[in-house]
């Protein structure tokens, strides 16, 4: 669905979101509206939404639907250059004015898809809720994902508005933010999808010490926590990583673990941003082996494993 930008420079308080979908059955309990918030500093090596890391996404360009009509050359900043029949973008000059999208016959601010796209929308908490309400009424609740939703100041206000309306709320997080981010939001969140990201890349230190107090904090508030393991081959299936995860799981004290499969569309946004991927795309065999190993390990420890259904997007 399209979120309409409603905040402007004069609005001190706003939320930046990149995308939203209704009727998702894979992002939390039941059927959800899922909103992807802009901004994240965690830097997971396998991140499949690099555009959501900065506070505002750079211009996305989907080459396959570009008809090389060159109308986007209207750009005063000379971002769009055509060389040997190829469309090259110099995003470093882009001011995000949106003029090229207006000119492009294959792009539209009213559409989710298109050749050119500026996904980040600034909205006030009230207007975001207002825009989502028709969709929420078709669903069981709302899930905030990202990015890291709780990094934005106004997210708590938004969650509060949701709770005022009696909406079931769920937040998906890496678990790696400062504790006060969680503490602020706690009263307004019903379910937490809590990432067991004991590692964010193969060379980083374990983040177990950061995860445990956050998990404890949420647990103490008697909130439902669903631990989530992203199935990253070569990372999450390492013995020492699994052992560290157990430590966090002991705190969470849940019988159930959700496995998030490897995203086969991992590199789509890298291509759209014109940047190199940071993680070597695993082969199918490695993906399968990773899942099998993680499953076996936790099954052996008595956990029930659920699978986040493959996102067919």
């Amino acid at each position: 669905m399209i979120i309409k930008e409603t905040a402007n420079i004069k609005n001190k308080k706003f939320i930046s979101v990149s995308e939203a979908f209704a009727m998702s059955s894979v992002d939390g309990p039941g059927i959800r509206v899922i909103v992807f918030f802009q901004g994240c500093f965690i830097n997971c090596a396998w991140c499949h939404s690099p555009h959501s890391k900065p506070s505002c996404s750079p211009l996305l360009f989907y080459e396959q639907s570009c008809s090389i009509c060159m109308r986007c050359q209207t750009c005063k900043q000379n971002v769009h250059v055509f060389k040997d029949g190829k469309h090259i973008l110099h995003r470093e000059f882009c001011l995000q004015c949106g003029k090229c999208i207006d000119e492009c016959p294959n792009s539209s601010v009213y559409k989710e898809s298109g050749t050119l796209k500026l996904p980040t929308k600034k909205v006030t908490a009230q207007s975001l809720l207002l825009q989502l309400l028709p969709h929420i009424s078709l669903c069981d609740g709302i899930t905030l994902s990202g990015g890291e939703a709780l990094l934005q100041d106004d997210t708590t206000a938004f969650l509060r508005l949701c709770k005022d309306k009696g909406i079931h709320t769920c937040v998906e997080t890496s678990g790696l933010l400062e504790s006060d981010c969680y503490a602020k939001a706690l009263p307004f969140v019903d379910v937490w999808l809590f990432g067991l990201r004991v590692l964010t890349n193969n060379n980083s230190d374990f983040h177990t010490k950061k995860l445990i107090p956050n998990a404890q904090l949420i647990k103490n508030a008697s909130k439902t926590i669903i631990p989530v393991i992203p199935l990253i081959p070569g990372v999450m299936d390492r013995d020492e990583v699994l052992a560290e995860m157990l430590l966090v799981l002991n705190v969470i004290d849940s019988d159930e673990i959700q496995l998030n499969p490897w995203n086969i569309f991992y590199d789509v946004y890298y291509k759209a941003l014109g940047i190199e991927t940071t993680f070597l795309k695993p082969v199918d065999k490695a993906i399968k082996q990773c899942e099998a190993k993680v499953r076996k390990f936790f099954k052996g420890k008595g956990y029930k494993l659920t699978n986040r259904k493959e996102d067919k997007k």
């Binding site: 669905m1 016959p105 539209s108 989710e112 028709p134 969709h135 009424s137």
Partner: protein, 873 residues
Amino acid sequence: MNFSQEMTKRAKGLYDQLINKALGDRSGEWFTQDMFPKFFSKVKPKDYGLEDELKTKTVLVRRAIAIDIMLKAMTNPKNSKKTHTAEIFEGDLLLGVLPMGSNGLGKVFPQFMTDDELRAGSVTNRNTMSLFGHNTMNYDKLLSSGLKKTINDCDKEIAKLLANEEKIKKNTGIIPSDLITDQESKHSREVYKNKTSKDFYVGVKIACKAVIDYAHRFAEIATKESKNKSLSQKRRTELENMARIAKRVPEHPAKTFHEAMQSITFFHIALHASMNFISLGRLDQVLKKFVEKELDKGRALEIMECFMIKLAGRLNLSSDYLHKQDHVDYATVLGTNPYYIDQKAGVNNFLQNIIVGGKTPDGGDGTNAATYLILQAIENVNLSTPGIYVRLHKGSPETLYKKVARSIEKTKNNPSIINDDVMVEAMHRTLMRGMPASKKEKMLKIARDYCVDGCWELILNGKSDWTFTMFNAMTALETSVNQGASLSPTPELFRGAKIAPYAPMPKTFKKLMETYEKQLRFFVDQCAMSMFLYYMIDEYAAPSPLFSAFLDGCMERGRDKAWAGADYNLAGIIFGGIPNVVNTLLGIQKWVFPKKGKGKYTLEEVADAFRFNFKCPDPTQKATQNTYTSVQIDFDTNTPKFGSNSKEVTEVVRKVLDICYSASMNSADFAKKVYEDKPKKEDWKNVIALRRLTGYYGSALRRKFEDFNMRFTVGLGTFEQYNWQGRGIAACADRQSGEPLAPNFSPVPGTLYGGIANLLNSMKSLELERFAGGVITDVCLDEKNASAEVIVNLLKQAIKDKAGMLTLSIGSEKIYREIYEKVLAASKITNKENACKLLAPYAGINVRIGGWQTPFITLPISHMENYIHRPSK
């Protein structure tokens, strides 16, 4: 009520037989004229209790005889070698076989009109083929009284009329109705009425007897087959039982569920075989008492599944053999001018819907065991026909919502939904128009008993005769931005074909809307008046004695439905292309007449860009070409679209709907003044002059038929004609010249940017309770999101948001694209059998194309291309 969720073994056998047949060449199964005796030379009047030659008989009586001839031809063993219409299919529990025919392929029926009649009808587009169906009959009456009683009633009435004839004979002779003017004496009318009523009852008698005889012949076939020793004892007993039932019904009232289903089957077949493609109406209400009484619910489901498969007996699943099956003839359609429909899209449309659930006349909820039985059978069998609609309202039981969602999830497109909370109100408003407040309760009861015809237009269950015209709302928009002319690029026509009165180029958005209203009314006047004109010809070409016998009011009045016999006459004006009009107006509002400042383009520039399909005819005019390209992009991608929930969009939708509704009511009143109302004394001469201006020289319909009241309804939709309707239309905001219009009252495929929730939400402020002609929105849900839980929520939201009617399909771009590519590949294969094999795995994938479901593989390529973009997240 728990029924088996899998097709029974018996039904699966019948299903496989049907699909096999449907994938092959069915052209040899059609009836041909040489299978019928020559009407005027070989058919003996005495066989029908008539004395004079057949050509002296009215069309009504001749049509009744032709029904008997058709039904006899169907059980003729020699014909059946080709047509298979006298066969009992292996395992079938119901007797009777529908002869080939469909909306898109046409029908075959004995020619009973004289050469002179056929020549005269060439000017009014009327002949034997002009019986159009689109109605429902009173099955309750058939099941509770049987045909014998109807025949007895006819005899009584004929005796009364004969006595009366003696009385009035001594005065003047018979006066044909078209000479009866407003000045005519009461006596002349009585003479005429007496004669036509007598003919009506004679016709009804012949037609009803024809159906009884047909059933009896089938009983004989079943008895014969039951003696076949190679069959199992179980099957032989079944056949004996079926023979026993066929001897009883439809002649007598039905006592058991099996008898009820057999009675309906025979009658439905008789109607469809005699060109009356009509729907089954509120079948769950009719069957309620039979299902409740039936102890063996498993057996009931088996019978119901057999029924569904039987009704789908005319399916064609291959596109390869359709040319040979084109039996559409001149004068097949409504209207006084030939009109061409998208035949290919209608190949598998038989205008046979079933509607279940909804309020009862007294305001309670009508959901019952038969509702669930029908839904389960449809779900298990999952064929594209018969169509199934469920009436839902805020008070419908939760189990029904769940059942409907589960059926949609499983079948991917069945059933379709109608919102009682909107449509009862719409029908009530229609019925109350011009009526005293004292009738409010009575009319509400009638309104609550609405159903749908063969597509989705609202009618009254077994109580109304329906006629309609379609109008492409884009035509009026073209003439509004082009001074009354169509946006034709042909230089010889200067600014275009002059199809409407001249109107100056609007200078503001408000003026544009005013111009649109006037232009629209010009066309709608034609629609409203034409419906009276062709209604008044029907008596001489398309009377329908068999159907009229079970249409409320006809038997009591002694009049056929073509002669104002029905209790209610409904006339619908159905607007297509509304979403395209809205999208184009939104573009004009934003880019030509913005609320602030000067527009980026002039209206003339926009009109020319549309006229020339965004391509400047002179390629050297670069600046003009640039303007046209900009117009195209700005209107297409930089303008909000129909279906989004923003204020600016809903304001324009509302305005367009207000115009359509008020123009229609205005035209309806005018047409009624010309043809129907008895003129006031001081107006008399003026009205006569108006009538003559329209080519009508007769008297006011209220004078001919005291209680005649043509009630006009307004509907929004295109049926499957959206491709066709786009053909003659210039480019606009959301399509290029000649491309399809938006289907029904739905967003242009691929433009539902705000999601289904916003689309539904936007309906709230449109006051759809005005559109009793039906207002239907097609939504295709991406299979990724389509769980039964989501569908339940969606249905409830649609009811709450006051959507009118909703068809919900589940699909994915991927599967539609895959089939599309396979169809293209199959079209290149010369061996037809191999081509069929390639497509066979997709035979069960049905999609919704405006008016009905159809197998995706049989769609025209242009429809497929359009459909691929529908799934919405």
